[in-house]
Amino acid sequence: MAKNQIRLVDTDIHERVQYKDILEYLDEPFKHYIENCHWIQEKHMPYTQPAVAGVDRADAILPDGRPAGSDLGFMQEQLLDEIGHEYGILTSALDPSPSSMHGWYEMAIALASAYNNWQIKEWLEKDDRLYGSVHIAAQDPKAAVKEIERVGSHPKMVQVLLPIDDIMWGDPFYHPIFEAAEKHHLMIGMHHNEPPIYYGKWPRYFIEWHTLIPTAHIKQITNMVFNGVFDKFPNLGLMMIEGGFTWVPHIMWKMDQQYRDLRHEVPWLKRKPSDIFKKQIRVTTQPAEELTKQEFMSLIEQMGTDEILCFSTDYPHWDYDSPTRALPNMDPELKQKIFADNAKAFYPKLP
């Protein structure tokens, strides 16, 4: 059981569906396309797997061979009960995952609905600690709004995961989605997907791709801030997931500096970009760079607030962060914020 007194709010847990398990939630003909026509989601990372069990923790593979993250009971035993989670936010994983699907709009829409239903029934309604993410096919904003209207009011849905595509999130294309999310007290969550960190293509090596993940976060934040999303939707928040956090002071400084010189181009911005960041953007910690306490505290000081960071494990993936080992020791008050209170304050629907 819990070794630390603070009950963790874990902001990135990957539950995993298998194709065979989602079939009963899919409408025809999409069920047919998977069952009889062998549709699989386009996934083609051109690298060797990063770790001994692919992208998963080897000890998170189920004893019967099913993939990591695909069984609630095992996740309860290995993660939620073992760590003593208060809450965990599900962010889905891999293949198939509607939150990273491009192309074939109709399949993307059907898959998102099926996934949401599967997530609600198999996870959210079976464990009080788990909260979920609404999946949408954002390439069709009308359908996306419809899906948010359909499941967004579920008491355990706390955010909308947007697929990253070649239209940046500040574009008015997405504004109807933000409006629907705001209406249902849902935040927007960004979890990187493949491959947009590198000019739409893959870099040569996995180590480059994995190093550059936060550049995708930086791009979306810059785009959303300067396009006025956070001014137009003052109750909307953005959770930037799985990009680490050491880049945060850099982009705050960079945006503020540019704003001082170039304000005239974005007159709808009435707040300093770093003030917008402090109020409406939160960042999950994993994968945490290994910092000394001094380095960590210096970063917090550079951010100008200790309310941005929210701890995440990324269970069951290979680069999992242990709640007891990933971050340096810190004062109990700060720990309480990073491990629990910041996420609770951010998600309106989290108790």
């Binding site: 008015p172 396009n227 006025g228 999303v229 001014d231 137009k232 704003y259 001082r260 010189d261 170039l262 304000r263 005239h264 181009e265 007159p267 709808w268 009435k270 300093k272």
Partner: protein, 119 residues
């Protein structure tokens, strides 16, 4: 009180500005389109650029929705010649992007045709 005639009113047309000397200080005298005179230290607060080499213009200053521009206050904004920072002439030289910052300013009065700067 220190004061000094820095130029004649006819030296600066409305909508223009001019670098002058006030003692040892280089002072920018601006004349807005309504004919009023204002004086500031002729150095940007940022990196010291000579403001008289910039322009007096308007700005996209009003509240607007994303994607909307409202150009206002023509002739009442100084724009720095280097990084383009904007300062509000009629609001104590405050910077538009950060009103907590302002150009050091001087008092100005006009007697006959003399523009007099004083502290």
């Amino acid at each position: 009180m220190k004061e000094q005639v820095v130029c004649k009113t006819t030296d600066i047309d409305p909508g223009e500005m001019k670098a002058t000397n006030f003692g040892k200080q280089n002072v920018l005298v601006c004349r807005t389109l309504d004919g009023e005179f204002y004086a500031f230290l002729n150095q940007c607060t940022h990196q010291g650029a000579p403001l008289d080499k910039g322009i007096m213009c308007g700005a996209t200053i009003d509240t607007s929705k994303p994607g909307e521009y409202h150009y206002r206050r023509n002739g009442e904004i100084i724009r720095c010649p280097w990084h383009g920072r904007e300062f509000d002439i009629k609001n104590e030289g405050r910077m538009l992007a950060n009103p907590e910052k302002k150009l050091p300013n001087y008092k100005v009065r006009v007697e006959d045709e003399d523009v007099i700067v004083y502290k």
